[in-house]
């Protein structure tokens, strides 16, 4: 009986100390981790989407509350004076989990500026081409927000990546999600940017 | 009581009284028609590639023999066969360093590491080819390799053309042309007739097992026929597949490699058929234009498993007898 109690006490103590320690480390690193994700995952995608903006989209970012949680918005002022916004959505059902897609939309013309894959765990050389080879994502360039962004195989307008249809479909899911979010959030985005 | 334990060694078992030297000499003899045709077709560079490949393979084996302080085994010509086959699977303009590295991988990693002759679980030549193709696939594109050549026939690699343009491209290549080597490809793999003659010679002399070659070809024909029948527009016909790429070289010289293939008749038939089936699957469904190399390596893995199908031992009627 004594052994039993000592087992329970030791394990409980260990687990709770470990839990407390981890909570402390987690809260201590949280801000920095967010900055790092911003710097290494989102910043490259945003920079390659907004090649000639006159402002700093990363500095001027703001958060919007949606049903699915907080969404980071990166506003950009394009060369011709029109405003655009970029945000990240996640497409379900990739070969290696969800695929992050940064979508930039022109607020004045309601057209997609473009899209870039941010995070993925797809097969190198096949699915990873969604990120590395821009011919696939450049199909999103200048598409109107109400265009059908599904794959051609799903009666949409986007060519799949040969050998990586699953990946391509997940990317289009992210793009379609971005369209929905945009149409819901447009008034709020405009309010924030003013 | 005599308690001597007899250990049964692994394949190959069959023996016809010939030495390894004679066997390998006959293998090279059988390869000669296709090799000579390759030299005639692609000129002196083809001779250079094959000569370098053959000599490098033997040299590597000698070097490894010296390092491991074992008696030199190059006299049995096994390395020479690996080198010759390897050279015949390359395009004629392959850079020298590819051949040096490739023969090293084939002889050292493919064969010597497993204890030399008879020990290799994979076909050594194919290990070399697969590793090279993984690293330097751009040098194995037969279309760009022969860009400086002038041919009197369609200067397109048949399998790559079919892969890129669909089954309609197969009509550009007459079957007779493919059989007579009027196609672009590896030095020793284009002359189908020569390979068939060499292969039949080996089978008649008993060096290559007919079960393997026949079931391999059957696997290709049956699978390709099924694909072709299901959708003639999408998939090329069975004879086209049989006569293009490495297929014939594979059927008579690669899948019959004795150390990595099964030893009993039924397993051999399954093994060969599976190889042919995998090749067509890779060509029609997979990402590779010519799946011969990977398909044979894949069935090499299955070989020990297939050898579990074996006849009952004589006199073993009851348990614990």
């Amino acid at each position: 009986m004594r052994e039993m109690i000592s087992m329970i006490v030791v394990l409980t103590l260990l687990a709770s100390v470990s839990g407390g320690l981890l909570a402390a480390v987690k809260s201590g690193t949280e801000v920095r981790i967010e900055e790092q994700i911003l710097q290494f995952q989102k910043a490259p995608a945003i920079e390659s989407l907004f090649t000639d903006v006159t402002n700093d989209p990363l500095k001027e970012r703001f958060n919007l509350e949606t049903e699915g949680g907080t969404l980071q918005m990166f506003p950009g002022k394009l060369q011709d004076g029109s405003k655009a916004v970029a945000f990240e959505t996640f497409g379900k059902g990739g070969y290696g989990g969800d695929i992050g897609l940064m979508v930039a939309i022109n607020l004045d013309s309601d057209q997609l500026v473009g899209a870039r894959v941010t995070t993925h765990a797809e097969t190198p050389g096949l699915g990873s081409r969604a990120k590395d080879d821009l011919t696939f994502v450049s199909q999103f360039n200048n598409k109107p927000v109400d265009a059908n962004l599904a794959l051609k195989a799903d009666n949409g307008s986007i060519d799949a990546i040969s050998g990586a249809t699953v990946t391509a479909r997940a990317v289009t899911r992210a793009a379609i999600l971005a369209q929905e979010l945009y149409s819901q959030l447009k008034p709020e985005i405009l309010k924030q940017i003013q | 009581m005599n308690n001597t334990k007899l250990t049964v060694s692994h394949a190959p078992f069959w023996h016809d009284g010939d030495s390894l030297f004679q066997k390998n000499l006959n293998y090279m003899l059988a390869l000669l028609p296709a090799a000579i045709f390759g030299i005639l077709q692609f000129g002196a560079p083809a001779l250079g590639v094959m000569a370098l490949s053959l000599s490098c393979a033997m040299l590597w084996e000698l070097v490894i023999n010296r390092i491991s302080k074992k008696p030199a085994t190059i006299g049995d010509l096994e390395a020479a066969v690996i080198g010759l086959l390897f050279g015949m699977m390359l395009p004629a303009i392959t850079p020298w360093w590819i051949i040096v590295v490739g023969t090293f991988v084939a002889v050292f990693i493919g064969k010597m590491i497993f204890g030399g002759i008879g020990g290799s679980p994979f076909n050594p030549t194919l290990i070399g080819m697969a590793v090279l193709m993984m690293s330097w696939y751009m040098f194995f594109d037969f279309d760009t390799a022969y860009v400086d050549y002038e041919f009197a026939f369609t200067a397109l690699a048949p399998l790559a053309a079919v892969k890129a343009q669909g089954a309609a491209a197969a009509d550009m290549f007459a079957l007779g042309d493919l059989l007579m080597g009027r196609e672009v490809g590896a030095i020793g793999a284009t002359f189908g007739l020569g390979l068939i003659i060499g292969g039949i010679y080996l089978i008649l002399r008993g060096y290559a097992r007919w079960e393997l070659a026949v079931s391999f070809i059957a696997g290709i024909l049956v699978t390709a026929f099924l694909f072709h029948a299901a959708s003639p527009d999408a998939y090329a016909g069975p004879l086209f597949h049989l006569l293009s790429g490495y297929t014939l070289l594979g059927a008579f010289f690669l899948i019959t490699e004795s150390a990595s293939s099964p030893v009993n008749r039924i397993p051999m038939l399954i093994y060969g058929f599976l190889g042919g089936f995998m090749i067509i699957l890779m060509r029609n469904v997979g990402a590779y234009a010519d799946g011969t190399i990977l398909a044979i390596l894949l069935v090499n893995v299955v070989s020990p498993l297939l050898d579990n199908i074996r006849p009952n031992a004589l006199g073993k009627g009851m348990n614990n007898a």
Partner: protein, 202 residues
């Protein structure tokens, strides 16, 4: 005391160098050693976990009931692994991305559990730390050397830290990219093991 301390430390560097002599911890060894940098990063993360889990387990070795000792070890190891994961995410994010799943998998790395069970639970904290440090550095060195072989042959570069190569062979070199692929890892590890045995024999 000082002598045995030195002995416990140095045995991890040669006589019991984990992947080559003990043939332990092969999963990260094979998976992450595409570059020297990955090898060093993985090795340092494992060293950190090893040292602190060894220390804590050695301190608590009389308090931990033998029947639940493995569960206790796992809780301790998992805590340190999670700390490493969070810290790497915060400070070396690109490295964290390339190492990916293999950081959390340190928990089930048999080197860490093996040292806890075989050494730390029977020895004093000072010796346990020396043992963890030695084994950890040995592991880092092996990963870095395997990474160096694979990266040099497979990509023609050497990357020690920060993602930029400190050495590149040059444009004339056609990288033998087989070596940075998965099968190349097995071949390279096998050849290095063979070399180690060859040296050890003499």
């Amino acid at each position: 005391m000082a002598q045995s301390l030195a002995k416990e430390f140095t045995k991890g560097l040669w006589a019991e160098i984990p992947p080559f002599r003990l043939v332990l911890g092969l999963c990260p060894t094979l998976a992450v050693t595409k570059t020297v940098e990955n090898g060093i990063g993985m090795g340092l993360a494992t060293t950190f976990v090893l040292v602190f889990s060894n220390l804590l387990i050695s301190i608590l070795r009389n308090a931990i009931p033998p029947k639940v000792r493995i569960a206790c070890y796992i809780v301790i190891i998992a805590t340190f692994v999670t700390i490493v994961e969070l810290v790497m995410q915060a400070f070396t994010y690109p490295l964290f991305l390339t190492l990916g799943i293999f950081i959390p998998l340190i928990v089930v790395n048999c080197i860490v559990l093996g040292r806890a069970e075989a050494f730390a639970s029977k020895n004093t904290p000072v010796l346990a730390v020396a043992d963890g440090l030695g084994i950890g550095i040995g592991f880092t060195l092996s990963l870095a050397s395997l990474g160096a072989v694979r990266e040099l042959i497979g990509a023609g570069t050497i990357t020690i830290w920060g993602g930029n190569p400190v050495f590149a062979v040059g444009d004339w070199y056609h990288p033998f990219s087989f070596m940075v692929e998965a099968p190349g890892a097995f071949v390279a590890l096998g050849l290095m093991l063979a070399c180690m045995n060859l040296i050890g024999k003499k």
